[in-house]
Symmetry: C2
Subunit: 135 residues, 2 copies
């Protein structure tokens, strides 16, 4: 198909994003972050990664189509914003919004749990576990 320039959107329907399964805060959140990839991308964003290629470098080896899809969903959910940082060729970088940054305590608790029950998991740097972003 034609793709005259980068940056055109795919449908990104996903019914549960607009129509949560219930009023439960957990179910509503999982409609957005309840998959195997979204939070690992958020992890990288918290650690300062911004560019598509940086996210691809993660040791979990996300595939390009999933990454593109998740970045669009993350943006649609208001967890990050896409900024054009170069006109030709168009290049975007992704930055967390406050809403996205506020998920850091969730990630921190996940890490505490994993470090306790899966001792082979890495202990995150203090900057990740202590830093509660202002704002």
């Amino acid at each position: 198909m034609l793709r005259p320039e980068t940056g055109n959107k795919k449908p990104v329907a996903k019914a549960h994003l607009t129509d949560p399964r219930s009023g439960c805060p957990i179910a509503t959140s999982l409609d957005i972050i309840g998959d195997r990839w979204t939070l690992v991308i958020l992890r990288d964003m918290i650690n300062g990664k911004k560019k598509y290629s940086e996210f691809l470098d993660a040791p979990e080896r996300i595939t390009t189509n999933i990454l593109a899809d998740r970045l669009a969903l993350i943006e649609a959910a208001g967890l990050a914003k896409r900024r054009l940082y170069q006109q030709r060729p168009k290049r975007f970088e992704y930055e967390l919004t406050t809403k996205g940054k506020k998920l850091q305590p969730v990630l921190q608790e996940i890490c505490r749990w994993a470090n306790r029950y899966y001792p082979e998991t890495w202990v995150p740097p203090k900057s990740f576990m202590e830093n509660q972003d202002e704002a």
Copy 2:
């Protein structure tokens, strides 16, 4: 197919359960809890639900095949244990292990985040948000 009595297991392969994508505590955790249903079942277990039919009653309307699959995975991951509480007919109840209970802080942070950014979500009872289970 034959199913002489209830309680026989299905394969439950899921490669990432035995072989995490990386040593990252977040990725490792998401290999287990990174889906749209597992944590809502854990929520119900924390709130004292034990039986299959009780989990089915949740407002999110989980289907029976997904519930059966998730209960098996939750047990395989050591987050809950299945107990035969009645011999004839065989009836099981599911109870959180300590490992499963220790995910409560993760759920609490998810609730805090959702209550802030999705004001239409329910505010959980204090018992859920404050209770840090002993052990």
